[in-house]
Amino acid sequence: MNPENEAEQPATRAERRRQEAESAEAHQHHVEEVEEAILAATETEPVASEAASAPVASAPVAAPAAKAATKAQQKAAAKAVAEGEAKPSADEPATNRVLREIMNGPIVLTILAVLVSFIIGGILIALTNSEVQETAGYFFAQPGDFFGAVWNAVSGAYSSLFQGAIYNFGRDDFASGIRPLTDTLTYATPLIAAGLGVGLAFRVGLFNIGGRGQMLVAAAAAGWVGFSFPMPMWIHLPVAILAGLAAGAIWGGIVGFLKARTGAHEVILTIMLNYIAFYLISFMLRTQGLLQAPGSVNPKSPPMLETAVLPAILGPNYKLHAGFIIVVLATAGVWWLLNRSSTGFRFRAVGTNPNAALVAGVNVKSTYMWAMALAGGLVGLAGVMQILGTTPDGMTSGIDAGIGFDAITVALLGRSRPWGIFAAGILFGAFKAGGFAMQAAEGVSVDIVGVVQSLIVLFIAAPPLIRAIFFIPSADGKLKRRPLRRNSKAVSA
């Protein structure tokens, strides 16, 4: 049995209790039946459940979370997962077990993954630094020079990354010193929104690589409303935002519709729709009367009207705009939807095991459609943030700025949990803000940020690798890589 289900089960069971209490007596029997069937099936289909419950969630990572659950829940869960569960040996001191559980916790493994990625990034920075290469030439004569050069290159790059992302110590007062942090939040805003869209799709077992297309059509729709219809602000801004959301939702909904109706694979559909959106928007941007600024020859739209621009929330000195507040609300909304609503429960049920959900009476096809539309809308929100917040001076076909793809890494890093995505978005926003500062100050190409980001996600996706690097014994006490256990009896049953 994959221990990861263990984390899922106490949660779903807790929810069941709540739902049971709330729902009328007549429904109770049905609800129980539904969830029993889903849980039974998730146990028998480990492959599907692993992929769906969190695409990169590692098995052991979830284990301590489950242990933290209340005794009663644990007992219920224990029955189902008993076989794969690690049993600490009796003669082992309790401190060792506690330490091991901490070391296998998701936070520690995440921190270690970030650390390893930064070290590899540092090696790359050092290797490509000209001073380091020079001093390496006479390494045996004066090794001190070499290490000094390495230290200068790496610490210089990372400290300018920090100063560009969090706090600039070179400024006199706090107000200007803290500006990098507000930049970070500005960069994080669309990343979080798009990450939520990708993460929501993950939870339903769908892979949304269509961020670019969804962002482009959403930005085009919001931008079109934003520059062509003069209205008072209190109505213009909401209408523009809603237009963008609707466009993104339609672009995502096409994928859900085709997948539900024809069984086409959403990865291919989203990739193809990215290109279609790109060429469609490019065409509209160079055609008078559609999106192109009147009288212009550049493929660019006119600037947004004042009334459609998201206002700055910290005053004109900072770039941070009201979009950040919207994104915080969106994160809370997605959290509520996934964890507290019956729609969210159906989403997760389909994501955990579509066959079981179907048997239990969930309309899987319409769930795919609605989930993709919702995911498209959330990614569309990122496009709206770009056009109405970050670059209101006009839309180009590069408005997505790679956020659609970055969002995938954000969602993976956040383990598809709304607040995890929020934190991951801020981290990657910091990378973005700091990366440009680093390039300007130290001449280290901003592309290194992409390398570090993708390494973080790779390492987080494979906890056994991180454990092997740091010699951390896995949760069952073995130093060896823990094989991902499957309950073979259940599979054959």
């Binding site: 069984g263 694979h265 990865v267 291919i268 193809m272 290109y275 899987v364 190409s445 790779l458 073979s488």
Partner: protein, 442 residues
């Protein structure tokens, strides 16, 4: 990858029942008829409602060719009318054949439909070119030559994709393999001065990307699509970083690759139209012919191919008869990386002569689309890649003469066609059964 399970509502028993039904009674499929009907309407609209008047020439050979064919001049409007009538007749034939499903011998019916579709496609293309290029000459040879040039990396990538997916590992990292191949071949070829060493380096680079994909997908059981996507980001970041911090600093020695020049095959290259298109190409293109042939023969005629397909379709069965699933997957994914890496070398060693940031520009994703469009078959995937190459080259040619169709819509065409293909209009695309699913022994 959970998504592969989604349509798995059909139990094996139900599956067997369906195939039984299929054997007894042929299902009537209106897909081909509907598709032809739609294109007939398009041709009525383009050639009859909005005809363009004037002459269009189809130029079959260049001036200095040994055997020179006369340019074929046609009246665009007349061609459009004739072709439209032909298209309507062909549509009627397909409708008739579809209605006769069950009474006609299945094989005969299939031949009729396939032939009708092929004639339809060629006729539509001729009329479309005549319509779009009124007053100009259509350089047929140039059009096809450009098609092959643009398709080469796609075909290499698609072959890598076919092998990898047939063995059960979804290869979204084709883009990364192409890019790594392009980068390493440019750098190594510049340093050594030999494009051949560059080709070797491209293969090694592709294999290295594959190693990461294989290790994470097979050993650590990470979702294969996720690894692929992240690898693309990683390779893009890595090559861009090294490009701006290493290659640009000394471009003369590090990023000035010797190019592979076209080699004419004596005799064959003198054949009109086909000769200059297929047999006056760089060595890498000839390597491509061999690779496609080998992949096709290897997959379907050798023990290696049988084992590979067994592992991709039913790893448990393969394991039961003693095939090491993990090892088979690992080495074949590596092989796929080597082939895709060669495709990357085409960008630097044949097309451009140096590495540029993100120069692959989505070719890997188009190759992936070609794999699915070609239904995981090497020959069909090659044809799909050629179709994509043709569409983008057609756009180039039309843009040069100022075509009436906005170039963006021509560029969009391959992607729309792919969506129609995977959505089942052209035929159901069903991949290898176990593709994307990790295999856990035990």
């Amino acid at each position: 990858m959970s998504a592969h399970n989604n349509n798995g509502v059909v139990t094996p028993a139900a599956d067997a029942a369906i195939s039984e039904v299929l054997e007894k009674k042929e299902l009537r499929s209106w897909k081909a008829a509907i598709a032809l009907g739609v294109f007939s309407l398009v041709s009525i609209l383009l050639f009859l409602v909005f005809p363009r008047h004037g002459e269009t020439g189809f130029r079959w050979s260049n001036k200095d060719d040994l055997i020179s064919l006369p340019t074929w001049n046609t009246d665009a409007a007349l061609t459009g009318q004739v072709v439209t009538v032909l298209l309507i007749i062909l549509t009627a034939v397909v409708v008739w054949a579809t209605l006769k499903t069950g009474t006609l011998i299945p094989r005969t019916r299939r031949i009729i439909v396939t032939a009708a579709v092929i004639v339809f496609a060629v006729a539509f293309m001729v009329a479309f070119l005549a319509w779009a290029m009124v007053g100009n000459n259509v350089p047929v040879t140039g059009l096809l030559l450009g098609t092959v040039s643009l398709s080469v990396p796609l075909i290499f990538g698609a072959m890598g994709g076919v092998i990898s997916e047939r063995v059960g590992v979804v290869n979204v990292a084709i883009e990364g393999q192409l890019l790594a191949g392009a980068f390493c071949s440019a750098m190594v070829a510049s340093l050594t001065g030999s494009p051949w060493v560059g080709l070797l380096a491209a293969m090694v680079a592709g294999v290295l990307v594959s190693f990461v994909l294989a290790a994470f997908a097979i050993k650590y059981l990470v979702d294969q699509v996720i690894v692929g996507v992240v690898l693309n980001v990683l390779v893009t970041g890595l090559t861009s970083f090294l490009y701006s911090s290493v290659l640009t600093k000394d471009a003369a020695t590090l990023n000035t690759a010797p190019r592979l020049s076209p080699v004419a095959i004596p005799g064959l290259s003198e054949i009109p139209v086909i000769g200059p298109v297929l047999f006056n190409q760089s060595a890498l293109v000839y390597v491509m012919y061999i690779v496609v042939a080998l992949v096709f023969l290897g997959l379907f005629k050798t023990r290696w191919g049988l084992r590979l397909r067994a592992v991709g379709e039913h790893p448990k069965a393969a394991d039961t008869v003693g095939i090491n699933v993990a090892r088979t997957r690992f080495w074949n994914v590596s092989l796929a990386g080597a082939i895709a890496g060669l495709g990357g070398a085409y960008f630097t060693l044949v097309s451009v002569g140096s590495f540029q940031k993100e120069m692959v520009a989505g070719a890997g994703f188009i190759a992936l689309a070609a794999v699915i469009f070609g239904r995981w078959d090497p020959i069909r995937a090659t044809l799909a890649a050629l179709l994509f190459g043709f569409a983008s080259n057609l756009q180039n040619v039309l843009a040069a003469v100022g075509s009436p169709v906005p170039s963006e819509f021509m560029l969009m065409l391959p992607y729309v066609v792919t969506i129609l293909a995977v959505a089942g209009l052209v035929g159901q695309s069903v991949g290898p059964a176990a593709s994307g699913k990790p295999y856990i022994k035990g």
